[in-house]
Amino acid sequence: MMQGKAKSYRFSFILLLGVLLFTWFLNISSGSVNIPIKFTFSALFNGEVPVDSWKYIIWNYRIPKAFTAILVGGGLALSGLLMQTLFRNPLAGPFVLGISSGASLGAALLLLGSSLLSGFVVFGFLNDVSLVIAASLGSFLVLLIVMIVANRVRDTMALLIIGLMFGSVTSAIVSVLAYFSDAEQLQRFIFWSYGSVGNLSWNQLILLASIIFIGVLLSVFSIKKLNAFLLGENYAQSLGVSLKKSRLLIIIATGLLAGSITAFAGPIAFVGLAVPHLTRQLFNTMEHKILVPAVFLYGAILMLLCDTIAQLPNSASVLPINAITSLIGAPVVIWLLVRKRKLLF
């Protein structure tokens, strides 16, 4: 019977993969420079391209960007799924644990705090790499604190509230820093907080991909435990799940996924929260063996689409991707809340 079930989802998976391929191609064929679809193809397969720069644009700008979008969307969506199951709360996501706020704090301290430590930090040092390091450190600092608290506090709802409080504290510190910093620094921070998947080189992309690979691997190892958590922590324990170890494993997976993504691409809202719910509409199951890959694919597709829209085809301007994901994500969350009056997570 389970096999029959797996078969019926095979079609959905093929569909998702097909859509992913299509959106990936759509994403690389659109951008500020108008490259006809025919030549996008030939550039991809090493054919003849009339303008040399087109090939360069596609291989060194658009393809890394498309892969970044896949990693960012899939990783954020997966971390959202992990959080929702762990916290038994349909509105949980990487933001709720304070991981994203931690990254913001790291970025803010570097970008805005440099005026306070002006003797220390040379302004020219502020390149993208240091930003990534600062944001990663910030998110892992919060993650570390959350993990220490998680070992002391048994109740996950309390942990959720602590995560929210962390978010408030960090955003308050960011506001204070913003108040004392000058316009140029503030502008840099605001641009980072808009989110972007387009600034990664191939090397950075490989680094991001490796971290996300580890996060996905840890998630796959948590699948059985995640299923047990669907019954609640006491039941999970009675099924032989070691609570502390499993919670730690899931939190580390989330931290790696959400932390690295926020560091490289900025805080991108709503993907982690909304995609697991959208996926559950297509896959009518709570089995994480199905949900983990499905959520990753779904998130990747959504991110590619959002980035394609943000690109504003054939124009030079790029909209902040955080705005696009919010525009799509917020209505989904409202729809969920309205529906939740009748339906449970």
Partner: protein
């Protein structure tokens, strides 16, 4: 005479929380095929006892032996093969289907990814059939009535295939018919499948009629015996303050003082 197998043995157990004991001096032992109710007034520690026996909460002192082995010597996954539990708390995700929920009962036996073997599937199908849940398998848990959900939760515990099954107030929120249905089912499970079943309840009348043994939690003596003996010894008379309700020895029920 054949040597009796003891599923669970409890010796001078105290339960409670860090700073204070809820109940002390608890002693009992149960064999396979025995259905036992834990009764007592609200707040006396029935649920605490059940959670302690289910290894969800540490004991204060004393010994608990499940299948002749101390509770603290079990690692989590081995213990899950000895004891299954049905709690009063609602399950976290009511979006689970009946079949998915019952399948989770096989977790202690499956591999790291939770893949089901033929044997696992057999247990699941058997559980579904035993509890007459065939028509519900595809339904979500939030679509079920309280009585149906309770049956599904017991079916999950059954699929876990453990010698000992603990249930915390399996009959609350149910009407008399469904209360009797659930308790008859537990009795049948214990006798047919040689399970040891221990549950907390407020249905003293029904427990007297259906259970093989009863443990009365009163915090001091904690008498444990077959129901008839407990009646003879007058243990039920002092359970509640006598100005309100009185135990009628002849009928084995409680009567309100008029």
């Amino acid at each position: 005479m054949e040597e009796q197998k003891t599923t669970i043995e409890v010796k001078s157990l105290s339960i409670g929380y860090k700073n204070y004991a809820v109940a002390e001096n608890i002693n009992f032992e149960l064999q396979p095929k025995e259905l036992c109710a834990i009764i007592g007034v609200n707040g006396i520690g029935k649920s605490t006892l059940l959670r302690t026996l289910g290894k969800l909460q540490p004991k204060l002192s004393g010994e608990i032996l499940v299948e002749k082995q101390l509770l603290e010597n079990y690692n989590p996954s081995d213990f899950a093969k000895q004891t299954s539990i049905v709690l009063t708390e609602p399950i976290a995700s009511k979006n689970l289907t009946v079949k998915e929920l019952i399948t989770l009962g096989r977790q202690p036996y499956t591999n790291w990814l939770g893949s089901l073997t033929t044997a696992d599937k057999k247990y699941i199908v058997e559980s579904i059939q035993n509890f007459e849940l065939e028509e519900f398998t595809g339904k979500k848990c939030h679509e079920l009535s309280d009585g149906q959900l309770q049956r599904v939760l017991i079916a999950r515990a059954m699929a876990q295939d453990t010698p000992l099954i603990l249930l915390d107030e399996p009959t609350t929120h149910l009407d008399l018919y469904h209360k009797v249905q659930i308790l008859k089912l537990l009795q049948q499970l214990a006798h047919q499948y040689s399970k040891t079943i221990l549950f907390t309840t407020h249905e003293i009348d029904l427990a007297i009629q259906l259970c093989d043994k009863i443990l009365i939690l009163d915090g001091q003596e904690n008498p444990f015996a077959p129901p008839c003996e407990l009646i003879k010894e007058g243990c039920f008379n002092t359970l509640f303050p006598s100005e309100m309700v009185k135990f009628d020895v002849k009928t084995g029920t409680f009567k309100v003082n008029k």
